[in-house]
């Protein structure tokens, strides 16, 4: 018996009410598919934000836990002297102080606020290496002695996107805090929001503009080697506790390794995934109830038809199969729409992540996932159909014929 042809016919005559019950399966499958499509992409994108720097790099920032009454927890900044002291540690190869400041920059008579990051004169190459693969896309990199000059992140380049309505090319002048600076180059696209939208500037120039003295925003440290990274972290913490006179557990600074940062980000991502999977499970459960409901109604509506089928020789098993397959098809349709919706959502999600983080992640279409989703939704549907199909099969032919 061609159960599939028969069930397609029956599905065609179903009312909108029946289709609405598919929403559960649809949302459930869409959630799973979009999650997996976005999820892997999201991880790649987020990791690339941090992965831009090599894994031996440790970042130190002032702040962290502060005690005492509100208002007393002012942040005591790190200083250039701290950096020098850290660099003396045997487990540390390099320690470079950097300042990240907010300021206004004017170009083409348009003023915008943005970030400027300092480079220490003579140590530019070390910084570029620590931060990642900093190379010039146009012009050249900011070099030693480049006072009164700046290098710009990639997102400043294109006039259509940079907010200045005009491309900023090497050789042009920009006004930072009303002082004129010459642009020496544009950095290659890094795929990281932070790195692509920063103004690179000599430390002394930035100090002149802001006046932070010896204070630094962060200290970037390179451990001797990958294996000594944990020891370097411990040494730095010990040193800074002494220098800043704080006890263990009361640190007013933070020494973070990329690995630890990645871990915490990934745990957040995993949390989001679990949340979506819970929503998907609930949706699918509701979907199952919906299909049971639709199919039970269908059995009642088609009671007479069941009677006719039995009168002309249909066995109980054949009646069962008809409703069972039909229910499975119902699930399959819900799943198929869900997959399409999920993929669309996945693409939109990846697009959003890319435009937010400036990354270039590609959505990952997982054909095995699609296949399993289709099989799964058919199974969900047919499992939901077992009970109604049994109801249909055990109808008494005479009673069923009365309708």
């Amino acid at each position: 018996m061609d159960y599939f042809v028969f069930s397609v016919r029956n599905l065609k005559r179903k009312g909108i009410r029946s289709w609405l019950t598919l929403l559960g399966i649809l949302i459930g499958i869409a959630a799973v598919v979009s999650l997996i499509t976005v999820g892997s992409g999201l991880k790649v994108a987020v990791n690339s934000q941090f992965g831009a720097s090599s894994t031996e790099v440790i970042t130190i920032q002032a702040g962290g836990t502060s005690f005492g009454p509100p208002g007393s927890g002012t942040v005591i900044p790190l200083t250039k002297q701290d950096a020098i002291a850290i660099e003396q540690l045997s487990s540390v190869e390099l320690a470079i102080p950097r300042n990240i400041e907010v300021g206004k920059m004017e170009y083409n008579n348009i003023v915008q606020f943005g970030y400027a990051g300092s480079v220490v004169d003579g140590r530019e190459k070390e910084i570029y290496e620590l931060v990642g693969n900093i190379e010039a896309e146009y012009g050249r990199l900011l070099e030693s002695g480049d006072f009164g000059k700046v290098m710009l992140g990639y997102s400043f380049y294109e006039g259509e996107k940079n907010g200045y309505e005009k491309d900023i090319l090497p050789g042009k002048k920009v006004l930072i805090k009303d002082k004129s600076f010459e642009v020496v180059g544009i950095v290659k696209k890094q795929g990281s929001f932070i790195l692509d939208s920063i103004v690179w500037i000599q430390d002394s120039d930035l100090e002149n503009l802001i006046g932070y003295g010896d204070n630094v925003s962060l200290i970037v440290v390179k451990a001797k080697n990958k294996d000594s990274i944990d020891r370097a972290k411990e040494d730095i913490e010990k040193l800074l506790r002494n220098r800043r006179d704080v006890k263990i557990g009361e640190e007013n600074f933070e020494v973070s390794t990329p690995e630890a940062t990645l871990e915490s980000v990934n745990s957040v991502l995993n949390g989001i995934q679990i949340f979506i999977i819970i929503i998907a499970s609930i949706s699918i459960f509701i979907g199952i109830i919906g299909i049971v409901n639709t199919m039970t109604t269908s059995v009642l509506e088609r009671k007479k038809e069941i009677g006719i089928m039995k009168a002309i020789g249909a066995k109980n098993s054949q009646i069962f199969m008809q409703f069972f397959v039909e229910s499975g098809m119902l699930g399959l349709i819900g799943g198929a729409i869900g997959i399409i919706l999920g993929l669309l959502l996945g693409y939109v999600g990846i697009g959003a992540i890319n435009s937010f983080l400036g990354s270039e992640t590609q959505p990952q279409i997982n054909f095995i996932l699609i296949l399993f989703s289709l099989i799964g939704s058919f199974l969900i549907g047919s499992i939901a159909g077992i009970f109604p199909a049994m109801q249909a099969a055990k109808q008494n032919p005479v009673e069923a014929l009365r309708g």
Binding site: I308, M309, A311, I312, G313, K315, N316, P397, V398
Partner: protein, 234 residues
């Protein structure tokens, strides 16, 4: 093939009781019916006389509370529902007053359905369905749905469906009940033609003229019992 005149269906003290709450309704109360191969049998009686229940028992659609029902010497009152379905599918064809076609299937598919249920292969089904549509003059309507054709045409589809698996017996429950006189006559002519070709026809009707005109044997039922049997001389 059995020879004309040999017994094909026999009801022995067949009884069907229904429980209606506390009350037991004796729809059919110990009837004996014997139907021979090739007979055109009419079961007559006023409404509530149990004639439809009797037909359901003859057609193995319903199971008797008491008594025995023999189809071709086999006691089918002892069979399970699934086996009864096989008996119906192979040996008995049903025609109903309400036509009872499947609305989602076309004329052709409706006629094919009993063959599909018996897992006949596609080529044979196609060949037979073409024959049947030709016989019932339905070729022009093969892709129509039941709602798109007239009552008379629907009943002809039902007749074609009833003989799709070439059963020995065709049971017709008020086959003209929903048709006007002229269309009804046409349907009766088809049934009569089937009978002439050797099919055993059992027809339930409350129309004495119809019974008189077509039936060889008429069973008169009153209150669930056989009150009278009349035989036409051939």
């Amino acid at each position: 093939m059995k020879k004309r005149g040999e017994e094909i269906i026999r009801l022995e003290g067949a009884t069907k009781y229904y429980h209606m709450g506390e009350v037991i309704v004796k729809a059919v109360d110990g009837i004996d019916i014997s139907i021979n191969k090739g007979d055109f049998v009419a079961v007559m009686g006023p409404s509530g006389s149990g004639k439809s229940t009797a037909m359901n028992l003859i057609g193995s659609l319903d199971m008797a509370t008491k008594g025995h029902i023999f189809l071709d010497k086999e006691d089918i009152s002892l069979l399970e529902e699934s086996d009864l379905a096989q008996v119906r599918g192979k040996h008995i064809g049903f025609i109903f007053q309400q036509f009872n076609l499947i609305p989602t299937l076309t004329v052709k598919e409706n006629i094919m359905l009993p063959m599909t249920l018996q897992n006949l292969d596609a080529d044979e089904r196609e060949e037979r369905v073409q024959d049947l549509m030709k016989k019932m003059e339905l070729q022009e309507r093969e892709d129509h749905y039941p709602s798109q054709i007239s009552g008379g045409q629907q009943q002809r589809v039902a007749i074609a469906r009833s003989i799709a698996n070439d059963p020995e017996v065709v049971l017709a429950d008020e086959p003209t009940g929903n048709l006007d006189t002229k269309t009804g006559e046409r349907v009766m002519d088809f049934l009569n033609k089937l009978n002439k070709e050797g099919k055993t026809i059992v027809m339930v009707t409350h129309d004495p003229d119809l019974a008189k005109k077509y039936a060889d044997v008429v069973y008169w039922l009153v209150d669930g019992k056989v009150k009278k049997i009349t035989r036409k001389k051939r």
